[in-house]
């Protein structure tokens, strides 16, 4: 693969460009970068998902008296604003969940120096517990168990072969 890694002795020192590439790879594999990247991607996915979910509100009859009186353009504007708010809140939620999960999994894996399913289980438990900690210890425990099971299942599915 890398011709310079084949022989440890007799390898010339890295050029500037290669050192830069190494630094960039190191940053890309670091925990803060994974935390930020998951947050951003979660935000995007959450926005798309929120857009999708917000369309269900207008699937049934939702017209009120004052809404009928507004013009089409005003109705559309209020509908779009509602969709935007809903999808924004969903995007924030997804970003937080993704960032916390990814950050904790990276930290746990760095600490344990092993790569197996316990990392995703522990990270899922912490994420689930954090998300539900406001509504009491029982719901926090339930959230921990549920999210851990979910993330372990997904990781197992990705790694099976």
């Amino acid at each position: 693969m890398n011709p310079q890694a084949a022989n440890p002795v007799g390898r010339p020192p890295l050029s500037d460009q290669e050192r830069q590439i190494q630094i960039i790879h190191g940053v890309m594999e670091s925990c803060p970068f994974k935390f930020a990247t998951s947050g951003v991607i979660g935000f995007g996915l959450g926005a798309a998902f929120g857009l999708f979910m917000s369309s269900f509100e207008y699937a049934g009859p939702t017209m009120t008296d004052e809404m009928v009186k507004q013009t089409t353009k005003q109705q559309m504007k209020s509908a779009l604003k509602d969709m935007g708010t809903r999808s924004y809140s969903m995007a924030k939620n997804f970003a937080v969940v993704g960032a916390i999960y990814s950050g904790t999994e990276c930290c746990i894996e760095s600490y344990r120096a092993k790569n197996d399913l316990y990392n995703s289980a522990a990270a899922g438990c912490i994420t689930g517990g954090l998300l539900a900690h406001r509504s009491g210890p029982q719901s926090a425990a339930l959230g921990c168990a549920g999210f851990a099971a979910f993330s372990t299942a997904i990781d197992w599915y990705m790694k099976r072969d």
């Binding site: 002795v9 007799g10 594999e29 894996e109 760095s110 120096a113 790569n115 072969d161």
Partner: protein, 123 residues
């Protein structure tokens, strides 16, 4: 391949080994006829063998400890990278420590050989 050819081709970078080579050894790829002290050549050859042996041992041991043989992907994961860093650091520090201890007990060890028994005083 003779030792001269080995040293001529490989540009060896041995930062931690205490090896002092005289300036008349050529590091470029040319096979010039300058005089090379054969004793220094032997020392350099031995150091090279030691280094390669150390490298191969570290490679085998850390690979056995850190990388389980179930391969899902060709890249090293974060946990495996951290494990290899720690493994190499520990190996080198253990080697240094043992080297120091061996030096300290060198006289005791040679005394054991000559007098035929008895424990060294520092163990």
């Amino acid at each position: 391949m003779t030792a001269e050819q080995n040293l001529g081709r490989a540009k060896i970078h041995l930062p931690d080994l205490a090896i002092e080579l005289p300036s008349n050894i050529m590091w470029s790829g040319s096979y010039s006829q300058q005089y090379v002290n054969p004793q220094n050549l032997e020392v350099a050859e031995q150091e090279l063998e030691m280094f390669m042996d150390l490298y191969n041992r570290i490679l085998a041991n850390c690979r056995n400890k850190c990388i389980p043989p179930k391969y899902h992907e060709p890249d090293l994961s974060k946990g495996e990278m951290v494990c290899i860093d720690r493994c190499v650091a520990k190996y080198m520090s253990v080697q240094k420590l043992l080297g120091k201890k061996m030096e300290e007990n060198a006289e005791n060890l040679t005394n054991i050989g000559s007098t035929g028994g008895g424990l060294p005083s520092t163990l």
